[in-house]
Subunit: 327 residues, 2 copies
């Protein structure tokens, strides 16, 4: 089969590509061709066993989406997008990339017609939810995003559901929880500290914690996130019904529990590298974020995530640090 | 103040214009200028006490939305749109008018900048909800529309909320229940029978009932619908909070109760003009529609509708039939 990944140069995109190339198949179907698309051409992984193409394209530019789907990939992982912070700072860019880009992709698929109906896995986010929340957010809770990013993701979900209902594609929307531990350098995202307080201490560096350690959030590892996308691609149409956008499961815990897990796994010296450094601006942003996600439907459909934050830390040490850390 | 009404030639648009002209003010503020916009120029009501302009324009055509908001109306009632049946039959037209038209209006407002921040009252619909439903649909129920129209309305709500949050406008989204009794000729809408079984018998004509009389639905009169829009225009920004899209109240009843009300008000001979004529296609469509709408928030904010279907029939006889009917 032929698979297209948009946003393939991002963290999840790279881990998804590597996993697919390693497996050689998607839910049992051999992969013959893999196209990696991003605004700058992604680096092709070493020694792929299938045909590889890397493409530099912005789906919101006229004609680019049509070119991307012209070879009729059977499965499309649509990960491309501007992140939360950038979409808030640059209103026009956020709408252009996250809304127009997604709509252009859907329209390009519809324009092919002729029975073409690809599996389309769309990465949404729990940013579609906005405070105030009940104790735990149920599957039928309304979408009242408090950011432009969350708004654009929610619109993408609605479009995906309508294009699927009309038979133009076979869509699944995957609302990712906070994905930690993100490898690499700290970034400016308000959520960055959730990864930072684990990643930096394990690398022997100090990390800053800008919020009280009573903050509750739902987390999944990058490995689990890639697993969600692959599992979604294998879901039978009738298992999903009309409600194709799903909140994913995750390990729900407080920041204090995250730190306790780090202490259990890596010791007191590592955990002591976290510097409490309250930042009212970040604390205020984080207050508006979803805490507990119920995710009953997705669990029932076989989506699985880590059941503890300990597992999430071990996956980071294993996958991104070659099994060791700076004690 | 200057008021712009889009979709002013439609049933609600005409009743809203007449009410505003009759009152001469909007929530106490004198109306100096009223602009009525529709794809074909609306007929100007007789003897307006204010400056009147009628405009023929399609907001989704380049430049039209900018022209419409250039005189900086302080209040905009955005009623323009393609109805449910047409949006389902003509996919492209539905998205162009309902989504692109609404977005063009929002973008034109944002482009003015310079502190311009009009009150923007957007007519949404309970078509944003899709089955299966709980016994009564609460305010925090998710939006999973089962039509392209409902999808476009839900996207409009999300855009309105984000443009409001960013300070570009001061939006309120009004989810109208089924508006009955619609005056005029029967139309092809699947929901047409809700009005038809009242309007036609009162005019001495036979009416067809395509669904079982156990069907439950929430109704409001055109008078109540116009009242919702005017009340929304007067809501203080902080009364509304971040969740600016509201399900409106209505009289919730079965078709049997609608017919019983008609019998009470107009007698057995009139009620006997309803022909039971089951249509499985229409019955199936109607099964997917919302039944009971809780509307706690909107009631709390002072929105009011009829408390019985009897009242709705009396309003129709009074407002559209000059007080009489064919016995």
């Amino acid at each position: 089969m032929h698979i297209l990944i948009t946003g393939a140069a991002g963290m999840i995109g790279r881990k998804l590509s590597e996993r697919l190339i390693g497996a050689g198949d998607l839910n049992g179907e051999p992969i013959e061709r893999l196209t990696l698309l991003d605004v700058v051409p992604p680096t092709a992984p070493a020694q792929p066993a299938c045909q590889m193409h890397t493409v530099g394209a912005d789906l919101s530019s006229p004609g680019e989406a049509a070119k991307a789907v012209a070879p009729r990939p059977q499965a499309i992982f649509h990960l491309a997008g501007v992140v939360s912070g950038e979409a808030e700072l640059d209103f026009e860019k956020g709408y252009r990339v996250n809304l127009d880009g997604t709509r252009a992709l859907l329209e390009a698929i519809r324009a092919i017609g002729d029975g073409y109906r690809p599996k389309l896995i769309y990465t949404s986010s729990i940013a579609v939810f906005g405070a105030p929340f009940p104790h735990s957010i149920p599957d039928d809770f309304h979408l009242t995003p408090l950011t432009s990013y969350g708004t654009q993701k929610a619109i993408g979900e609605l479009l995906l559901a309508d294009y699927t209902r009309r038979g133009f594609c076979d869509g699944v929307g995957i609302r990712l929880p906070s994905v930690v531990v993100r490898p690499g350098k700290p970034n400016a995202a308000a959520s960055g500290f959730f990864s930072g307080i684990i990643r930096e201490p394990l690398a022997g560096l100090e990390a800053s914690l800008p919020v009280p350690d009573t903050v509750v959030h739902t987390h999944a590892s990058p490995r689990a996130a890639v697993g969600f996308l692959i599992h979604a691609a294998g879901l039978a149409r009738d298992a999903l019904g009309a409600r194709i956008n799903l909140s994913m499961p995750g390990a729900c815990c407080t920041v204090a529990e995250q730190i306790a897990a780090l202490r259990r796994i890596a010791g007191e010296r590592v955990a002591a590298r976290i510097r409490r450094d309250q930042n009212p601006v970040i604390a205020h942003i984080v207050e508006g974020w979803p805490q507990r996600i119920e995710a009953r439907r997705s669990r029932g459909l076989g989506f699985t995530a880590e059941s503890s934050f300990d597992e999430i830390i071990r996956i980071h040490i294993d996958e991104d640090r070659g099994g060791s850390f700076v004690a």
